[in-house]
Amino acid sequence: MYYIHKVASITHQNSFLQNDINALLVEITEGSVLFAPDYKKYVLPSSLRRLSPILRMAVAVAKECQEAINTPFEAISIGTALGCLTDTEKFLNVVNTVEGDILSPTSFIQSTHNTISGLISLELKNHSYNMTHTQNNISFEMALIDSILCCDEGKSFVLLGAADEGIEFLNKLKPIVISKDAFVTSGATFFALSKIKSNAEIGIVACQAKLNKVSIDSEINSFLGNLQIDSAAIDIVYSNCLTEHFPSEKMIHYEKFSGLYFTSNAFGVHMAHDWLIEQSKKYALVVNSSCEGGIGLILLRNDKAQD
């Protein structure tokens, strides 16, 4: 088990630093905005000006995770599907519109995917292992698999994160490149993960991610089969796709609450975490699949709950 010692999310929900986010969930509608904290609490105002939404969100939730454990993280593993799009688009504009030789490098510097994890290492003054995974819709799972490896290798606390940012331009890619007609947006969810239990109740049992899937059902079957857990033992399923594997009353469509970004399943894990505590139930499964991308399955367990 890889225990969740802290989870922090910035999303369209009133999710930041709440104990049970499920009680506060509201389905996202057009025009809905991110619940942003006062970022000045997390970043010096002089630096804050330069930071894009994804960097602000990620630093704030990373710092909340660090605050919750009293030891430095021994690894940082971040998943992002599309990285720092605001700065990427900004620099594309600079390249195409600015004449002459003097270009401002800020947006270029901040356009690389690992600006997120790099900035966190700077802000936390953390010299440890620092990784950025980007595998389209299973980017968060890749970061999680790396975190699990880090824990197994003996690292005590790992900062695991998922962050993506929506830009207006993405809407132009619907329906050709982005097939879902959903509300494209941003979000960040970070975890303090450890094999050490101490006060934690909920942990991640296992994660499976594949680029190609046979079918959602058969992937769920093999995943749960390998863990020797019966589908009927799963108390709740957070999913962004349809599957008849579970009765509909057990399924929650997390994208209705997160909006569409390609690491939103991390928020699904946050929802599942809070639900297991609140309901004192044992197992939650997070199912993430898209037609274009891969499939990711994450199983959570509540140690306190009875069978």
Binding site: N114, S117, N126, T132
Partner: protein
Amino acid sequence: MDIFITGYGVISAIGNNVEENLNNLIQEKTAIKQGLRNFSSKFKVGEIPYTNEELRSEFNLKTEGSRTALLGMVAAKEAFLNHELFDHVKTGLISGTSVGGMDTTEEEYKKYLKGDRVNYKNYFNHPSGTTSAQIASELGISGFVNTISTACSSAANAIMMGARLIRSGYLDRVIVGGTDSLTQFTIFGFRSLMIFDDEWCKPFDNSRKGLNLGEGAGYIVLESQKSIQTTGKIALAKLTGWSNASDAFHQTASSPDGDGAVLSMNQALQVAGLKPNDINYVNAHGTATPNNDLSESKALIKIFNGKVPPFSSTKSYTGHTLAASGGIESVYAVLSIQNKILFPNLNHTAPIEETGLIPIKRIEKNMEVNHVLSNSFGFGGNNSTLIFSKK
């Protein structure tokens, strides 16, 4: 647990495959010259002299993709040549890239800004993860595919991730490395940072001004002992050490004393169970920027307690290929061990005043090469070290 290297592949400005790269390294022939494309023609770059169409036909590529993906397919296919897929050998691909499909994106975005007709379908190539999916598809690999994006250390980190997944039993065999194509985005980006040299770059030279950019891809195949029993492959060398550490100093610059580099080299030696004086050759990151080379030199002096082994930066041949560099230079590290040669650092005239370190200046043959240490450092203070050993 031993991690065996059973295949390698590379495409860079100095050659389309391993053999051509080796020959040009031995003949001390750089391929950095004035660029061929509109956005590269003002600069000295390590460009691959094929259009995307030519890449597809020359290398018989079946899968569509960005230039980054096409270059990746060429090198990964060479690495995986004569390898077969087996049901019970869990095989994956982990590829590093920093630009992904930016080469197609920037073309489309230019049209969009001009108000020209845009083919939005081309944005399908943009995500870095798609680049790897396309390479995997060309190789016939499904299942575990991942992309690492940590700027210039991406390929080294992909290799490290692969080794760790084999060691943990998650995979039996994995193709690892990286790819990046030259784009207007990166050329303008590095120009905005003012770390370009208008002439040939001079790694570790006192008068070094900056880097030359390049493009290419490099991959190696890693296998466990168990995997080799099925695949029957003969090891070319072993991957024995790896580490990644964070400099946590500045978004782009390295710390003056190379703290992150010291950490990463130190930890890689520990993973390999080697002492500093076991290392026979260091393939340095050596971008030829004033900041990197001084900081890396100081870190080398610290790690090796003043007795720095023979070292060089092969970026004087290929240019800095960004996310691909760790993959390309891993192939060079294996070639160094196999052929008992040490590659020179071109264009070096005078050592850096503060350090006095002199890199290898001419090709050195018939050398005892048991262990090679390879550095890759990226923006965001992302420092990685790999150690390759004789099988």
